[in-house]
């Protein structure tokens, strides 16, 4: 009998001890804050928007506002290391956006950084593709272009009401007929890519130009590095 009581006491002690350890673990389990800025993808101006954080199951876990008066700065505390979250942005003047964010599995940092760009929801606005998805004089998507196009693809999928035109420019001003063909082919390549990746083809039109982009012309003199010229491509919103 004594032995049974002794065993029971030991079991109870172990149980409470484990509960205590768990709660201690919860107390010391580190959390991370994510900070950064939200800027307009076209003007690069800071914007004020509401950011909602969802966990992997779509449950809302946090929210905050970015502040255009403070460079578009936002601060999102209490995120757990090793977890994946989604940050959604929903504002009447901007496209709905959903960004994935993975928090590194470490307690080493109290804060990590991440910037976001949002596309303005305006008739005739032209969203530039920041990294050209084509190589010089080519109309086939370059290897890895899917990475560069992931952002705009997501924007277009999250905003199914928008109709838009894919616009492409050539790399030089040599032969107009050749340039037109290259730019048309590029625009069609992008249309096909988007259609194959979940964007309804009936929303998309394509346009190629026979001369270089007047808003982003090729440099006339040799500039500092980082300025290799490839014709620009845009997504122009034609119907909101």
């Amino acid at each position: 009998m004594k032995a049974r009581i002794f065993i029971l006491i030991i079991c109870a002690f172990s149980f409470f001890q484990s509960l205590n350890l768990k709660s201690q673990d919860n107390l010391v389990n580190p959390v991370v804050a994510v900070t950064g800025t939200v800027i307009n993808a076209v003007t690069h101006e800071p914007v004020s928007v509401f950011l909602i954080v969802l966990d992997e199951n779509g449950k809302r876990v946090n929210a905050t506002r970015s502040n255009s008066a403070e460079n578009g700065y936002y601060y999102l505390p209490s995120l757990k290391p090793g977890k994946k979250y989604y940050i959604t942005i929903n504002h009447p003047n901007f496209c709905k956006e959903k960004f994935e964010i993975n928090i590194a599995n470490t307690g080493k940092y109290l804060e990590i950084s991440r910037d976001f760009q949002v596309s303005p929801l305006q008739q005739d606005v032209k969203i530039p593709l920041a990294v050209p998805p084509f190589e010089y004089s080519k109309s086939k998507l370059r290897v890895g272009a899917e990475d560069f196009l992931a952002g705009i693809k997501s924007t277009l999928i999250n905003n199914p009401q928008i109709k838009f035109e894919v616009q492409c420019y050539p790399d030089n001003d040599n032969d107009r007929a050749e340039n037109k063909k290259l730019a048309d082919d590029r625009a069609n390549t992008l249309v096909n890519f988007l259609a194959a990746n979940g964007v309804d083809k009936s929303r998309i039109s394509a346009k190629g130009f026979d001369s270089t982009d007047p808003n982003n012309p090729p440099p006339k003199t040799k500039k500092a590095k980082g300025k290799k010229y490839i014709g620009t491509s845009y997504i122009k919103f034609t119907q909101l």
Partner: protein, 335 residues
């Protein structure tokens, strides 16, 4: 009397000229092309122990060459845009690269394997610099998105974003004592930042250039910073005070790259005016001018300045080998 005076003046002039020639001949180099990229070579970086040099190019590759023989060891592929700059880690195990594909990538120097892709910049990444402190795994980068970012490359995490430049940032340098970063920009300023994780405002802004500042680099003792601009001017700053020590009208065209030798005094610059020049950073004296006959984007040198490595606009990687002249000495290499 006048004749004697004229004769003495003439003799004095001859002696001064001969002395100048001797000084100019103190550094005599010969040029050798050791290899070729398929397009312009934009960045060059010599590792800590002077055994390897990495080059990067518009052809979207990075090449690692042996020193002093210039044998090609690895060609690293993976970037999806031109590679604008490279930097070895302080322990020479890793290489960081910055590209127009908006990423920073980390490579294993021995195997040539890509270890990490760091995504977070929202425009082309132009500058990259590894912390030279072996105990940290930090990498700094600059981009046309106007920011300077600090990464923990092992975790693949962006740990700090620094904002204060008003135009695109062109290059970044990590001080060798690990305490500060310097970034330069088209806004004609250089900003000095703390590497601690909490401070996000610049410690100081250096004003003195009147053109976009294209590069900045610390000396190995972290007591000097050199910067160069689009008008061919180099400024040497005393650190950490930020006092301007010397302004040198160095080249006729833009200077994309400068670097210190191991003595923390000798400095090399390369320009699109096709010349490479050695300088005494304290006096501003030009120690050597070498006409390469080709536009030079990037330059670095081994610690005693025995080899100067050039990245050229025709895709060639060239060595300037010293044939005569005093050694600039000391132990540290790299940029």
């Amino acid at each position: 009397m006048i004749r004697i005076f004229r004769l003495s003046f003439f003799l004095l002039l001859i002696s001064v000229l001969s002395l100048t020639t001797i000084v100019a001949q103190e550094y005599k180099y010969s040029m050798k092309t050791i290899g070729q990229h398929d397009d312009e070579v934009l960045g060059v970086f010599v590792n800590e122990d002077n055994t390897k040099v990495a080059t990067c190019s518009l052809d979207e590759t990075i090449k690692i060459w042996s020193l002093p023989d210039g044998k090609l060891l690895h060609t690293l592929t993976g970037h999806l845009g031109q590679v604008n700059n490279v930097s070895f880690s302080g322990n020479d195990k890793w290489l960081a690269s910055a590209s127009s594909d908006q990423t920073v990538r980390i490579w294993d120097v021995e195997t040539g394997q890509q270890l990490k892709v760091l995504k977070g910049h929202t425009d082309q990444v132009i500058g990259v610099y590894f912390s030279q402190d072996d105990s940290t795994t930090f990498v700094a980068s600059t981009s046309f998105d106007k920011t300077v970012k600090l990464w923990d490359f092992k975790l693949g995490t962006e740990i700090k974003t620094l904002r204060d430049h008003t135009k695109q940032t062109n290059n970044v340098a990590y001080s060798y004592d690990g305490k500060t970063l310097a970034s330069c920009s088209d806004d004609m300023t250089i900003k000095i930042w703390s590497t601690d994780l909490t401070t996000k405002e610049p410690l100081m802004t250096l004003l003195g250039h009147d053109a976009p500042v294209l590069t900045c680099v610390y000396s190995f003792d972290s007591k000097k910073l050199a910067s160069s601009d689009e008008k061919g001017i180099i400024i040497v700053w005393e650190m950490p005070s930020g006092k301007q020590l010397r302004k040198i009208n160095a080249h006729k065209e833009l200077i994309q790259d400068v670097s210190f030798a191991g003595d923390n005094q000798t400095m090399v610059s390369a320009s699109l005016d096709k010349t490479v020049k050695l300088w005494d950073s304290e006096t501003g004296k030009n120690l050597m001018t070498f006409d390469t006959g080709v536009e030079v984007w990037s330059v670095d040198l081994v610690s005693d300045a025995g080899i100067i490595v050039l990245g050229c606009a025709d895709g060639s990687v060239r060595f300037l080998n010293r044939e005569s002249g005093k050694k600039t000495g000391k132990t540290k290499g790299g940029k």
